[in-house]
């Protein structure tokens, strides 16, 4: 589904990713872990197409096509979803309007008819139930005045609504207390399907207590220094990132 090969990327002329390669197959959950500044968020944002990040070399192929040349909205319409570390507040933009525009854009891209208001409202209720969030949220401005936990759950609701093929969670656990973390993790589990892949970017292992990854990658200084199964995350929990950092330095 996703094949990243020798990816080099930079932000305002500073190279952040220095030859990253990874392959994600349908239905797999990949955790990308690493110390701060290692390039985790850059990787997530590059996949979503954030304009401040520049791809210098390497390739990213998604569903057999070059992903880098596509605009962020086209990537989203073709099934990539980024759950933001800091979801953006959109004052005065109602969730209803925002999500309806997003769902319709995706359907139009796939050659399907836009949803009738009634159909959309039913879908919203069903998905809100699935990710355990109050459906009344729909009449509020997007993320405005939301608590940290509400914002992250609202991201999960958007994920559920847009039914992506590849969902990227960028530090979804940051700023959440244990209860909020569990709620979010449970909804991610709800949203796992045999076709849908996840890339879970996280600093801590704690999210992975609830969300078992198929693969764990340790990203240090722009490169994956070690890959393994779920148990690799536990090693990090016990001994931190020091050993990986030292490994790169030597």
């Amino acid at each position: 589904m996703l094949e990243v090969s020798n990816l080099h990327a930079s932000v305002s002329d500073t190279e952040i990713l220095k030859g990253l390669s990874v392959t994600v197959n349908p239905g797999e959950v990949h955790a990308v872990m690493g110390p701060n500044g290692g390039g985790k968020s850059t990787f997530a944002n590059i996949l979503a197409g954030r304009p401040e990040y520049t791809v210098d070399s390497g390739t990213v192929s998604y569903l057999g096509e070059d992903l880098i040349v596509k605009t962020p909205d086209v990537r989203a319409k073709e099934g990539i979803f980024l759950a933001f570390q800091y979801p953006v507040e959109l004052p005065g933009v109602r969730f209803w309007q925002f999500m309806k525009a997003a769902v319709d854009a995706k359907r139009k891209h796939a050659g399907e008819k836009e949803l009738a208001v009634r159909e959309f409202d039913d879908l919203w209720k069903e998905k809100a139930e699935q990710v355990k969030i109050a459906p009344e949220l729909i009449s509020r401005s997007v993320n405005e005045g939301f608590s940290g936990g509400e914002k992250k759950r609202a991201e999960m609701l958007q994920l559920a609504m847009l039914e992506p093929k590849l969902a990227i969670l960028d530090e979804t656990d940051s700023g959440l207390d244990v209860d909020a973390l569990r709620t979010v993790a449970i909804s991610v589990n709800e949203l796992r399907t045999p076709e849908r892949s996840f890339i879970v970017v996280t600093h801590y292992q704690r999210l992975l207590n609830y969300l078992t990854p198929d693969f764990v990658h340790i990203l240090v200084d722009g490169q994956i220094v070690e890959s393994g199964g779920a148990d690799l995350a536990l090693t990090v929990e016990e001994s931190g990132y020091d050993r990986f950092i030292k490994a790169t330095a030597s």
């Binding site: 909205d73 925002f98 997003a102």
Partner: protein
């Protein structure tokens, strides 16, 4: 033979023609013309803070036809372009002349009456010129008073449903010559009355026109008035609006101005909070494009204690347009326990757009709460990326974000049919306003 009349000759000839009518305003007009002769237009901007950011030389240079002859306008053609609502009562003037065809006053509301010059009774006409002081204002106000041929005098005596606003509609249409109109309004909201007034200045011409309006508003004790003002002029037209408001004890006045364009458009608004416990809300939305220039000049005086004022102005600018926000709140020594807040925000969508924003507070009382702020910026890049990342294309994202920005002001409008009209006006402009 070609005419060699100078602008001054034209103003004088028009003034003399008005005076020939020998009506109840003869003395007032004479006094005003003398004032206009003395001060002229405020073209010298040096040292003149009131006009520092707006150059009115293009207005002063113009040579205008000042005629009272009925307009040659196709009413059926222009009708769909005008603000309207099912239960609105409208008094309309086309190119300065009363239009029976566009007016819908049926006299069914006894709580509100609207008269024109010919029918205004003397006790009301005495009050015209009492709030807009000729000697204090600049040449524009004086010129309007020297030249107005007709006027609208509104008197509110009781409570009028917000669903049934009164609209004073001033329309200008395509004319062979640049034309000057002088709309004149007096509103008296009597004690404990409640009403909604819409003042619309609409220009349908593609050429030059100049409307020079004066509106006087008296809000008596305990009265409440919502005053909505719409300015929708072409990119070649000029509009100077002078609005003077005096509020009595425990009165409430809300002004919401919506300016959707003009070559030069000035909204010169003075409010005097002259009664304790009075409240005033001044909101505005301005959207400027091409070479438009919109200037909101506000002067608000807290003269008595326990009064509250709130101001929220928002601008959306594109092209090479310019906007000015100059708002002064003066809190006099007696005005203890004043609460005043003033905010101006601007969204700049192009490199060529420019805003001069200057909120200011002058406080002479010691027990007050006053706040002000101004901002100018571009559309939030994070907001755009957030929407793109959900599959919403850039054009739709732009439309949604700009509409939401404008809606913050429009949503204050309590008359739904007017809110709908304003939202339509914004939507119509959106293709020009994008990032």
């Amino acid at each position: 033979m070609t005419s060699t009349l100078t602008s001054t000759d034209r103003y004088q000839a028009a003034h003399e023609q008005r005076q020939a009518a020998n009506d109840q305003f003869t003395a007032l007009r004479a006094q005003a013309y003398k004032r206009f002769e003395a001060v002229g237009f405020p073209v010298a901007r040096k040292g003149n803070e009131r006009w520092k950011y707006t150059n009115i030389a293009p207005i002063a240079r113009g040579e205008y036809e000042i005629s009272e002859s009925p307009a040659s306008a196709n009413i059926e053609e222009i009708k769909p372009q005008l603000p309207s609502g099912d239960s609105w009562q409208t008094l309309a003037f086309v190119n300065g002349v009363y239009s029976d065809e566009l007016s819908t006053i049926d006299g069914s509301q006894s709580e509100i009456t609207v008269e024109r010059l010919a029918t205004t009774d003397a006790s009301l006409s005495d009050r015209l010129g009492s709030v807009a002081q000729i000697d204090e204002d600049d040449g524009f106000g004086a010129l309007n008073t020297a030249l107005f041929a007709d006027c609208a005098v509104v008197r509110v005596t009781g409570e009028v449903d917000t669903k049934s606003p009164l609209q004073l509609l001033f329309v200008t249409t395509e004319q062979p010559q640049p034309t000057l109109t002088s709309p004149r309004v007096l509103v008296i909201a009597e004690k404990f009355s409640k009403s909604v007034l819409i003042e619309s200045h609409i220009g349908l011409e593609s050429g030059v026109s100049f409307s020079n309006a004066v509106t006087e508003v008296i809000v008596e004790e305990g009265a409440s008035l919502s005053h909505y003002r719409i300015l929708e002029k072409g990119h070649e037209s000029f509009h100077i609006g002078t609005t003077r408001v005096r509020q009595g004890k425990d009165s409430s006045y809300t002004s919401q101005s919506f300016a959707f364009g003009a070559r030069i458009g000035r909204d010169d608004l003075h409010v005097l909070l002259d009664g304790p416990g009075s409240e005033c809300t001044l909101n505005g939305l301005y959207m400027t494009s091409e070479s438009d220039h919109i200037d909101n000049h506000i002067s608000l005086t807290h003269a008595k204690p326990h009064a509250t004022s709130k101001q929220l102005y928002k601008g959306i600018l594109t092209g090479n347009s310019k906007a000015v926000f100059s708002g002064q709140v003066l809190v006099e020594q007696d005005a203890q326990k004043t609460y005043a807040v003033q905010r101006d925000m601007n969204l700049l969508l192009s490199d060529g757009a420019e805003v001069d924003t200057k909120p200011s507070l002058l406080i002479y009382a010691d027990d007050v709460q006053c706040f002000h702020g101004a901002a100018a910026g571009e559309v939030d890049k994070d907001a755009i990326f957030y929407m793109l990342s959900r599959g919403i294309d850039a054009e739709t994202a732009s439309r949604i974000l700009i509409t939401a920005y404008a809606d913050e002001v429009i949503n204050f409008v309590e008359t739904e049919s007017l809110q709908a009209h304003l939202k339509k006006s914004v939507a119509k402009l959106l293709p020009v306003f994008h990032f």
